[in-house]
Amino acid sequence: MKTLILNGSPRADCGNTQLFIDHFQSGLTTPLPVRYLLREKPATLALAMNEYDTILLVMPLYIHAMPGLVMKLFEELKPQSGHHPKIGFIVQAGFIESATARYLENYLTALAYRLHFSYLGTVIKGDAAACSILPHFFFGRLFKQLKALGVAYEKTGSFDPLLVKKLGKPVCLSKYQVRLLESRLVNRLNQIGWNWILKRNGCFKNRYDQPFL
């Protein structure tokens, strides 16, 4: 099985997508080749994809869907004739609940069908925006799960459904979670991170600016 990993993040190898790829790869005996959408022309990558029988596209969620950069690649893809290569997706996002990536997941399923790829599924993980900001021990469990996803992928050529389910939790926020997140204390804690960065950059007092009125 010849697999190519595509990194669809505009931050290429400096972002959270790359961390996801690295931890997935740590579960493999032989690392897979990785190519970056940011660094190559969409047409070149579309052509290169034909040399593989499986494509794993790893990307961040941008406005409930793929980054524009990934859509540029999709626009270059032609329906496969003859053999049906496989395609699977790993999507990581900032919001906690994975339901926000449902719109993208539905589209990716339809895209695989449209292009005659055999669809391996979409792994979704929310609450991942701070992966490359906070110390790694905060994300120990996530990284272990990604490694296990890699181990299972090498064995079966597919995503382990149990791990996919675990990574996708919570799908929606429970009433209890909403109450907790809306509580004054948690709300303040959530803002601390942003405010700390804004203060460090000397623009805390400008945080509510409305420059385009």
Binding site: S9, P10, R11, G15, P60, Y62, I63, H64, A65, M66, P67, G68, L69, M71, K72, F74, E75, L77, F95, I96, E97, A99, T100, Y103, N106, Y107, A110, L111, R114, C172, L173, K175, Q177, V178, L181, E182, N190, Q191, W194, I197, L198, N201, C203, N206, R207, Y208, D209, Q210, P211, F212, L213
Partner: protein, 155 residues
């Protein structure tokens, strides 16, 4: 009423309406740097959309004329949506039962969408319409209508 048009097909333009012609205007991609939230709140490091931001945020209604690309919105329109993140705040609220960014501005325009229906099947069409509804809901706008029409075939 102040209006704006974003178009990928059609030749409509109104003399008193700002026009963004996506066919003639390839938008620079969001590079994910968060400068618009962390360093220059509300402003992107790229300036190709400054005029668009002003007209969008001060319009009462924005009308989109969209083409369908690979069963979804075009890459250029998706890039425009990515670049609209500076119009919102980094802070998240959960009042609606799900995560949503707080508005940066007091008001956002109402949205009207027309598109050229070139879908392969109804599933694709549903995905496309649901995605647009959802996006403008998250953008704190009200979507008045989404209307698909088969493109005219010229003989």
């Amino acid at each position: 009423m102040k209006t704006m048009i974003v178009r990928e097909y059609n030749t409509v333009s109104l003399s008193d309406s700002y026009l963004l012609d996506l066919n003639a205007y390839p938008i620079k991609g969001c590079c994910g740097c968060w400068t618009c939230w962390w360093k220059t709140p509300g402003r992107c490091i790229h300036h190709d959309l400054d005029c668009f931001y002003h007209h969008y945020i001060t319009a009462e209604k924005v009308t989109f004329y969209l083409t369908v690309s690979q069963g979804f919105i075009s890459a250029n329109l998706k890039t425009l949506f990515d670049r609209m993140i500076p119009l919102f705040l980094p802070y998240t609220n959960y009042g609606s039962g799900e995560s949503m960014h707080d508005p940066r501005y007091e008001r956002y325009p109402d949205i009207e969408i027309f598109y050229q229906d070139t879908f392969l099947n109804t599933t694709e069409k549903q995905i496309f319409e649901a995605y647009l509804q959802r996006t403008f809901y998250q953008f704190h706008s009200k979507t008045n209508s989404i209307t698909g029409k088969m493109p005219e075939v010229r003989s």
